[in-house]
């Protein structure tokens, strides 16, 4: 079933990235899965009745079966509250191909945002580096979505990566259950990041980490003497790329392994996205996995 997107939205999406538009169209026309179902929150459960609770919330079926007074814990009746956290640190500005990691993250965020708004889910946005740069509280209107696209469009890479601090401050503000979608290269201290993710989980946030990396960052396809200029104001390094390739790849792989293990330990789903990959495929893969 095909869904006709409003032209204004498509134009906005195209400004963020042409790939975002294509991805959304692909998802809607080919798969058309419920974003809510794919990205739904967990079951809330029961809790013991306490004096003062509304008697309408007593679960009589439980009382009938087990003679216990449990109160049915209701999910929020309205919509899913999702917060897109886009890392706009300096390292996200790196590109070896057509798209930088930030470009890719923006496109992915726009596509996911559109899919959620279309299902009447609330979607919020946070762009950050060492601190929160811009923030849009969750809302589900198309007008809000257009604002979200504006903010995404304005996001520029800069500053150092300190995602853990941002997540800590974000966790303090997220009082209601929701979904946090992280779009980052996760070039951060894995231990700190894992702790922050754990805190988010503790605050009853479902967390989905899309780790966006450039293929060159993994393959290190350079040769000869290269002066590496850090995008986050790190010292410049003159190194023989051929001599350090093996060692670099080993350190990078270790970082990825530790991140994967950390995410798994705290119940965070991690998706590895290479900027060379088709955005639509990433979306489809993500939603399929959830399904």
């Amino acid at each position: 079933m095909s869904v006709r997107l409003p032209e204004e939205v498509l134009q906005k999406l195209e400004r963020v990235s042409i790939t975002a538009r294509h991805a959304v169209e692909s998802v809607l026309t080919g798969l058309h899965r419920s974003v809510r179902r794919g990205l739904s929150v967990e079951f809330a459960g029961h809790r013991e009745y306490l004096p003062g609770d509304d008697l309408r919330h007593l679960d009589w079926f439980v009382w009938a079966r087990s003679d216990r007074y449990d109160v049915r814990q209701y999910e929020e009746e309205t919509k899913l509250r999702a917060t897109l956290v886009v890392d706009a640190s300096g390292s996200m500005g790196y590109r070896s191909g057509a798209l930088s990691k930030l470009d890719y993250a923006r496109a992915l965020a726009a596509a996911m945002g559109f899919l959620m708004v279309r299902q009447a889910d609330s979607i919020g946005l946070v762009t950050c580096d060492t601190r929160i740069r811009a923030e849009l509280p969750p809302a589900s209107t198309m007008g809000h979505y257009l604002n979200l696209l504006e903010v995404l469009e304005q996001a520029q890479p800069g500053g150092e990566t300190s995602l853990a601090d941002v997540l800590d401050s974000l966790a303090a503000r997220l009082t209601r259950r929701g979904l946090v979608i992280l779009l980052t290269d996760a070039f951060d201290d894995v231990t700190k990041l894992t702790k922050s993710l754990h805190l988010l989980r503790h605050r009853k946030q479902d967390v989905r980490l899309f780790q966006i990396i450039d293929p060159a960052e993994q393959d290190f396809p350079f040769h000869g003497m290269i002066e590496f200029v850090g995008l986050e104001r790190e010292p410049r390094l003159r190194l023989d790329a051929d001599r350090i390739r093996e060692r670099y790849q080993a350190i990078f792989a270790e970082h990825q392994r530790r991140l994967a293990e950390g995410c798994h330990a705290v119940g965070v789903t991690r998706d590895l996205c290479r900027t060379s990959e088709d955005l639509a495929w990433v979306l489809v893969r993500a939603f399929n996995e959830e399904a």
């Binding site: 300096g90 390292s91 996200m92 500005g93 790196y94 990691k101 290269d185 070039f187 450039d214 960052e217 350079f222 000869g224 003497m225 290269i226 002066e227 590496f228 200029v229 850090g230 995008l231 986050e232 790190e234 010292p235 390094l237 003159r238 190194l239 023989d240 001599r243 350090i244 093996e246 060692r247 670099y248 350190i251 990078f252 970082h255």
Partner: protein
């Protein structure tokens, strides 16, 4: 430590190439904005020291690979001193030997066996002590004027060269040989240095009296003070010469001259040969045969006095002008050195020499500035003698007149126009002769300013003050050997005693380079009276008094006529390029026509000629002439004759006394060997007292190559 191939030491610079490549590699840097810098920082934090160490180690290994290879090529050797045999010559490493062979005339002496044969034996014995890898240069006395030859590594070829040695006509000059040997050593590459002088042990050529020259030679041989004795910088000096023995008697023709400087056709000329006996025994008797152009014209028998010297001669008349060679040849004597039993003299017989007399004060007859000179040169005034005179006053002088005369005489000329002065200088420098006489009109300031020019003009020397001694000065010194006095024979010194000089100019000799001015006559107080000096290829003579009787009484002496004829004849007689040559000089011919072939013949063989330049003119020039005797050069019907005569000193076969040897060599350590067996014993046993290290270097190089491969692969793996 020594290096046997020092010339390849430059290869050590190759060690810089890995460093240069490394630095160039580091300079060729691409800039990259990079997101994963934190991983690189972490990588460095973990591996910085190891990476640096590996980089330095790899660089060091690569430097060592090249360095050891280059070092192996220089063939380093550890010297090992031969402490057990201090009596032998110490050698270490490969030897660079320069064999200085005296093949001068005296090496042809010996009744039963020539000295050159013993020289060959000693030289061969020395060469036998060398081993493959040693290099040797053979420098011959006869080839000192030629280009230096490259050292030989082929010792058999060197021995073959030695076997072909034969005596030449060259005069011996040991100091020059040693200097050439020292220079030749710099063409060698082996570390050990030996200068080996192989001579006949005769005194000729050593010239111990030339002390300053020997000082220089000793300075050169001493080398650098910090250099090791026996190294190329301070070579061992070996003298190989047969044991001194009483010289065998030798009779030689040590001189051949004419009784006049200018020889003209159809006028008799006296030929005089000087015979000298060197020996302790009684001088032999015999005869001298005189030949002109190879044809005998007569002979004279002689009986030498105990003093050992005698002149014999005869008179001959040349019928036609032209080029001749006169030879004096001993007959009936069998001495130890046949090569000096003959002597040659090349003569140009003229019809008459054109002489231009330029008078400052013109007058006829005996009057005028040059009246007496004109009478001396042409007494009859008919122009039938050897001098064809043109007598003019100074203002009449033209360039055409200058070009038409071979000798110009200036008598009391106060000054010359600038263009005439320039023409006169061109005349002299180009090969003409000029005689200048002074007088009352002489202005020394003008003469010095324009004619002498502080020693650079055509006048032999600048003038100083005019001397008018109260008592007339007399002539004290006569250069009897000068050719202008040929006509006087042994009486040249006596005929001037009545000559009174009332006025004369002193000369400023300080402005003339030493050795350029030759005195012909001097006063008793030492002031020069007649001098000559070569200007370009011409000759200028100056009498510091007048050429007439104005300032002196010379014209009244009987010697005046032959002396003036001698001086003017001398100025007009010399032929250019010279045709009387010493051994080693080249036959030079400038008057060749391009459309005619020119062929030169020596005493025994044809002499090849090649084109060259002599005094700025195109010329045909031969190789150095080593054979004494007559030479001829034919161009069409014309024949030009040359003569090569040996140095008289070579005929004296006196052995070199030990004191004279010490005087020459001073404190220099020299090993003297007189027999081939001594050479073998002293040098053969001290050979190879060093250990060569090139194999170790090559092994080390291979080891480093393995290490480099290992490190590179290991780095790839990590």
């Amino acid at each position: 430590m020594e290096f046997l191939n020092v010339a390849l030491m430059g290869g050590l610079a190759a060690v810089a190439s890995p460093i240069i490549i490394h630095l160039l590699h580091r300079r060729k840097v691409k800039r990259l904005d990079w997101g994963g810098q934190r991983f690189l920082l972490e990588l460095l934090a973990r591996n910085r020291r190891r990476l640096l160490l590996e980089e330095v180690l790899l660089l060091l290994v690569r430097v060592l690979v090249l360095g050891l290879l280059a070092l192996a090529l220089t063939r380093p050797a550890l010297k090992r001193r031969n402490v057990l045999r201090p009596d032998v010559v110490t050698r270490y490493g490969r030897t660079a030997a320069v064999l200085l062979v005296d093949d001068s005339l005296s090496t042809g002496s010996g009744r039963t066996q020539m000295a050159i044969e013993e020289i060959k034996r000693l030289a061969t014995a020395y060469l036998n002590t060398l081993a493959p890898g040693d290099e040797v240069s053979i420098v011959l006395q006869s080839q000192l004027h030629g280009p230096a030859a490259d050292p030989l590594f082929d010792l058999e070829a060197a021995k073959a060269l030695v076997a072909q040695l034969r005596p030449t006509a060259m005069a011996s000059d040991v100091a020059a040989l040693l200097e050439a040997g020292r220079a030749q050593l710099s063409r060698h590459i082996n570390p050990g240095g030996e200068l080996v002088l192989v001579s006949d042990g005769r005194r000729d050529g050593w010239r111990p009296e030339e002390r300053s020259r020997w000082d220089e030679v000793r300075q050169q041989l001493r080398g650098a003070p910090d250099a090791t004795q026996g190294s190329r910088q301070r070579p061992n000096l070996l003298l190989l010469s047969p044991a001194a023995a009483d010289p065998e008697g030798n009779l030689a023709v040590t001189g051949l001259r004419l009784d006049r400087t200018l020889v003209t056709a159809k006028r008799p000329v006296g030929l005089r040969a000087e015979l000298t006996w060197h020996g302790r025994s009684a001088p032999p008797q015999g005869s001298v045969r005189f030949l002109v152009n190879g044809r005998a014209i007569g002979g004279k028998s002689f009986t030498l006095p105990a003093a050992g010297k005698q002149e014999v001669g005869l008179t001959h008349t040349f019928d036609e002008p032209g080029s001749y060679v006169v030879q004096a040849q001993l007959e009936g004597t069998h001495d130890s050195l046949p090569l000096d039993d003959q002597r040659c003299l090349a003569i140009q017989v003229e019809t008459a020499v054109p002489v231009l007399l330029v008078e400052g004060r013109a007058a006829g007859g005996l009057q005028g500035s040059l009246g007496f000179l004109a009478a001396a040169l042409d007494p009859e005034g008919l122009g039938r003698g050897p001098f064809r005179l043109t007598r003019i006053s100074a203002p009449q002088l033209t360039e055409a007149l200058l070009q038409a005369h071979r000798v110009i005489v200036l008598g009391d000329v106060p000054a010359l126009a600038s263009d005439m002065l320039a023409a006169l200088e061109r005349h002299v420098v180009g090969g003409g002769g000029v005689l200048v006489g002074l007088g009352a009109q002489t202005d020394p300031s003008l003469i010095n300013r324009f004619w002498a020019r502080a020693g650079t003009g055509f006048l032999p020397a600048p003038l100083r003050d005019l001397q008018s001694p109260a008592a007339a000065a007399t002539i004290g010194q006569v250069n009897e050997a000068h050719p202008v006095f040929n006509a006087f024979g042994a009486r040249a010194g006596e005929v001037w005693k009545d000559g009174k000089i009332r006025r004369y100019f002193r000369l400023d000799l300080g402005q003339v380079p030493a050795g350029e001015l030759e005195r012909i006559l001097s006063l008793e107080n030492g002031d020069p009276l007649v001098v000559e000096r070569r200007r370009g290829v011409g000759l200028a003579a100056l009498i510091t008094s007048s050429l007439n009787s104005q300032w002196n009484e010379l014209p009244l002496l009987p010697a005046y006529v032959p002396a003036m004829r001698g001086i003017v004849g001398h100025l007009g007689s010399f032929v250019l390029p010279p045709r009387n040559l010493a051994p080693g000089e080249r036959l030079t011919f400038t008057a060749f026509a391009t459309n005619q072939t020119v062929k030169a013949e020596g005493p025994t063989t044809t002499v090849p000629l090649s084109t060259g330049v002599w005094e700025g003119r195109p010329a045909l020039i031969s190789e150095p002439l080593l054979e004494p005797g007559p030479y001829s050069l034919r161009q069409g019907n014309q024949v030009f004759r040359y003569a090569v005569s040996v140095a008289p000193a070579e005929s004296e076969l006196t052995p070199l006394p030990e004191a004279a040897l010490r005087s020459c060599l001073g404190e220099l350590a020299a090993h003297h060997f007189t027999q081939a067996e001594q050479v073998t014993k002293a040098l053969g046993s001290s050979k190879r007292s060093s250990v060569e290290l090139w194999r170790w270097c090559l092994g080390g190089c291979l080891g480093m190559l393995f290490l480099e491969t290992f490190l590179t692969r290991r780095e790839g793996r990590t």
